[in-house]
C-alpha cells in the first residue's frame, strides 16, 4: 500500500468470535486501520455448535468466513494466523509463522477452550465442544457408536456402545444429552436391523445438586424434568474420577449423609461439557503486564476492560474476568455468555474512540437480558429480563422462543434461511440432515487441539 500522509491509528483485534467481531463492527466508520487476526477462517455461531455435533446442521450453516463478514468494511484487513505472543513493550502481536503486527490499540478476544481440570489424559476419551473440529469428532463418535453396536454380537459390548455419557450439566451438557436422547428415540429407530436405537442409554453426570446452575432453582427443576421425559438419566452430586476408552468411573455423594459411592459405567461414547479454560494468551499477557488471572485463566481487567497499566490493551469476551458497573450498585461479575462478549467488544471499541477523541474511558456495564437454554425437541427453559419485568417459562413456548432468538442472531441472511429449513424439515420428519461422517478409520484427533 502507498504510504498515507497522516497515518491512521492501528487497531489490532485478536480473535473473531462474538467479542472480536462486535469490536470491529463498532469501528465501522472510524478513521482507524483495523487488523483482525483469526485462528480459523470463520466466525462461528457457537450457541448452535451442538447442532453440528449432533448432525442436525452442517458446518457452513453456523460458520461464515470472517473476511466475508468484513468485505464492505474497508478499514478492516483480515489475516489468518495463530497469535503466540503479545509484545507489550514493542506493541506488537506475534504470529506462529513469524509475522508481527504493530498496534496502537489492541483488543484481545481470543476466547476459551475446554478444560479437563488438570486431567488432560482424559481428552482422547471425552472430547469437548468448542470448535468445528470438535463438533465433527463428536458427531463421528456418536454415529459410529450406533454403527458398531449394529455389528456387535456380544450383548455387554453392544450395551457399552449404546451408552452415551455427557459430563457436565451446564447449557452445553444439557443440550447434548437432550439431543442425544432425541436421536436415539426419534431419528434412528427403523434404520437398524439388529439393535433398537431407542434402547440406548443417555446419562448426564453433574457434580452439583442441580443442572443449569446459572438458572433460577425452579427452572433447573423444569429442565431436569424435561430431560427425564426425553429419556435422559440425570445423575446429580456425581463426580467423574476416571475416564478411559471403555468407560468411566463416577463417585456419587449422598447429600444427606455426605458419604460417597463409587461405581463404573461401561460407555464407549463420552462427551466432556464440564470445564472451560481461557486461551493461554491470557496468561502470557498477564505475565507481560503484571495483570492477574483468575482460576480459569481469565485476565482481571480494569472497569473499562483495559489491562492494568496498559490503557492501549483491552481484553473482552471469555478471556476477560470482567465486572459490570452500575451507579449505586455493587459491581457484579459478567457471565460468560455471548451477549456478554458482544457488549464487551462494543464497549472496548467505544473506549478506543473516546481515547482517540481525548475523552476519558467509561466503565463497562453489562445489560442482562436473562438466560435461556434448550433441552431438546419442544423443550427449553427461559429466564427473561425485560423492561416489562422478569419472566420465567419452560416447555414448548420456551423452545419456540429459544429457536427464534437463535435464528435471529445467527450471522448472515442466507444462513438463517438454511438453518430454518434444516430445522423445519428436521422437526416434521424427526430426521437429522447432517448425518455424514468423514475420516473413518483415521486416528482419533486430540480433542481441543
Amino acid at each position: 500500500m502507498p504510504p498515507t500522509i497522516s497515518p491512521r491509528p492501528r487497531v489490532v483485534i485478536v480473535g473473531c468470535g462474538f467479542g472480536g467481531l462486535e469490536a470491529a463492527r463498532a469501528l465501522y466508520d472510524a478513521q482507524v486501520e483495523i487488523t483482525v487476526v483469526e485462528r480459523t477462517n470463520h466466525h462461528l455461531f457457537q450457541p448452535l455448535l451442538y447442532q453440528v455435533a449432533t448432525a442436525g446442521l452442517s458446518a457452513p450453516a453456523i460458520a461464515a468466513p470472517a473476511r466475508h463478514l468484513f468485505r464492505k468494511q474497508a478499514n478492516v484487513t483480515t489475516l489468518l494466523g495463530q497469535v503466540t505472543r503479545i509484545d507489550v513493550q514493542a506493541r506488537q502481536v506475534l504470529l506462529e509463522d513469524g509475522m508481527s503486527i504493530g498496534y496502537d490499540h489492541l483488543i484481545v478476544a481470543a476466547g476459551a477452550t475446554h478444560s479437563y481440570f488438570g486431567r488432560n489424559e482424559w481428552a482422547p476419551f471425552a472430547p469437548g465442544l468448542k470448535t468445528l473440529d470438535d463438533a465433527f469428532e463428536i458427531r463421528r463418535r456418536i454415529l459410529l457408536a450406533f454403527e458398531q453396536a449394529e455389528k456387535e454380537a456380544d450383548p455387554a459390548a453392544r450395551d457399552a456402545w449404546l451408552t452415551f455419557t455427557v459430563i457436565g450439566g451446564g447449557p452445553t451438557g444439557v443440550e447434548m444429552a437432550g439431543t442425544l436422547a432425541e436421536i436415539a428415540h426419534y431419528t434412528l429407530p427403523g434404520e437398524f436391523r439388529r439393535i433398537d436405537p431407542a434402547s440406548a442409554k443417555v446419562l448426564l453426570i453433574e457434580g452439583s445438586s442441580r443442572v443449569l446452575q446459572a438458572m433460577p432453582q425452579d427452572l433447573s427443576q423444569r429442565a431436569h424434568e424435561q430431560l427425564t421425559k426425553l429419556g435422559v438419566e440425570v445423575r446429580l452430586d456425581s463426580r467423574v474420577t476416571a475416564i478411559d476408552a471403555a468407560g468411566l468411573e463416577v463417585m456419587q455423594t449422598d447429600s444427606a449423609s455426605g458419604s460417597g459411592d463409587s461405581y463404573r459405567i461401561a460407555s464407549r461414547c463420552v462427551i466432556w461439557a464440564a470445564g472451560v479454560a481461557a486461551s493461554p494468551l491470557g496468561a502470557q499477557l498477564a505475565q507481560a503486564t503484571g495483570a492477574k488471572v483468575d482460576r480459569a485463566g481469565r485476565v482481571q481487567v480494569e472497569p473499562d476492560l483495559s489491562v492494568p497499566g496498559h490503557p492501549e490493551i483491552s481484553v473482552v469476551g471469555d478471556l476477560a474476568a470482567a465486572q459490570s458497573y452500575l451507579a449505586g450498585h455493587e459491581p457484579r461479575a459478567v457471565p460468560g455468555v455471548s451477549p456478554g462478549a458482544k457488549q464487551m467488544g462494543r464497549a472496548a471499541a467505544a473506549n478506543i474512540l473516546r481515547r482517540l477523541a481525548g475523552q476519558p474511558t467509561l466503565p463497562f456495564r453489562y445489560r442482562d437480558y436473562g438466560n435461556l437454554a434448550t433441552i431438546g425437541r419442544n423443550a427449553a427453559v427461559v429466564d427473561l429480563v425485560s423492561p416489562l419485568g422478569h419472566f420465567k417459562f419452560s416447555g414448548y413456548f420456551a423452545w419456540l422462543f429459544w429457536l427464534f432468538a437463535h435464528i435471529y442472531f445467527l450471522i448472515g441472511f442466507r444462513n438463517r434461511i438454511v438453518v430454518l429449513l434444516d430445522w423445519g424439515g428436521a422437526y416434521w420428519s424427526k430426521q437429522r440432515y447432517a448425518r455424514v461422517v468423514t475420516d473413518i478409520g483415521a486416528p482419533p484427533r486430540k480433542p481441543g487441539a
Copy 2:
C-alpha cells in the same frame, strides 16, 4: 435373530455408490436377505463432489446416510465396514475388523479411486477428488492459498500461492478449473486488502490435444472456449513430469514437429484430476477366480456382468470392465459414468432374480442418454441422445439443463431443496456458501487414503 424355517437367499452388496444402491433398490420386494457393506456411512452424489471441494455446497447436501436410504426396505441390513477380501470358495466377504459375512449371491460395487500412474509420491502435493475427505482437503488448500497470499510480502511467493493448477482435462478437471476461475473472479474480489484475487491464474493441463475427450470434437472446442472466457488458461498436449510442494514440471509437445519443451510452473495449489484406478478388491477377486483385469484394474466380466466361472458373483460400476450388448450390433465398452453404474446395478439384481426363478441370465445392455459436463457459471456442454434424435448444445441453456438434471437425480427430497437454495443464492450473490475450513494446521492428509 431367531432361525427362520426356510432361510431366504443371502445377497451381499459391497459398496453403496450408484451401482450398489441401485442393485439393492431393485431387490425391494424380493424374498432375499440383503446386506449392504459400505466403507463410509453415506451414499455420495459424486457428480457434485467438486462443488463441496470448491465451497459451493456443504457435505450433507450431497451425502445421505446409506441406512437412512434403506430404512423402509426391510430386507436390507446396512453394515459399516471395509471389505478386505472375498473368499470365493467359502462364499464369504471378509471385513477389516475380522467380521465375515456369508453370501449366496454377491454384487461387488466397490468403485474406483484416483491413480497417479505409478507416481504415488505425487499424492501429497496434488490431491485427487473421490471422497468427501478429498473434497475437504482440496477446499482447505484452495481457500488457504488465498489466505497465504494475503499474508505474503514477496511478490514471487505470492504469485505461487495465486497460481492454481488442475491436472487432467476430463469432466472433473474442467469443472474444477472453471469453478476455481469463478471463485477468483466473482466470489473473492472485495474481501482482500493486499491482493487482488482476480489476478489469480488458473491453469488446466491436459495430455491430449483436447479437453473432454469423451465428447464430440466440436463440444470439446466449445468447452475450451468457455473455459478461456471464464479465465482458465488451457494447456493441451502437456504432460506432467514432476510435482512437489512448490510447483510442477510440464513437458509440452508440439503436435506439428513432435518436439517437446519442458518448463516449470510455480504453483502452491495443484489438483489431480487425471487418472482413475479400480478398487484393489478387483485384483483380489480376479486372482481368486482367474478373471482378468484391465489396465485400470477393472474386472473383465461376462456379458451378464458375472465373474467368469462364478455366476453367483457380479461386478458392477467403476470396478467392472463391462460391455453393452445389443442384438445386431458389436458389443461396446460401457463408459465409467453414473448412469452406467446404476444400469449395471439394476441388471445384476435382475439377473439374481432370474437365477432364483430358474431362468437364464440376460446380457447387459447400456442405454446411452448422452453426456454432459459443466464448466462454470452459465457454461456447460451437452451431448444428448434421445428418442427424438441427437442434440448437441452448449452455453447458458446447456448449463440450465445440467443443473436441473443433477438436482433431479440428487438423492432425497430435502437435499434437493437445500442444493437449489444454495445454488440459487450463490448464483445471484456470486457468493459461495460453504467457505469453511477446519483442521487448520493439521498435517496434510495423505490424499486418496
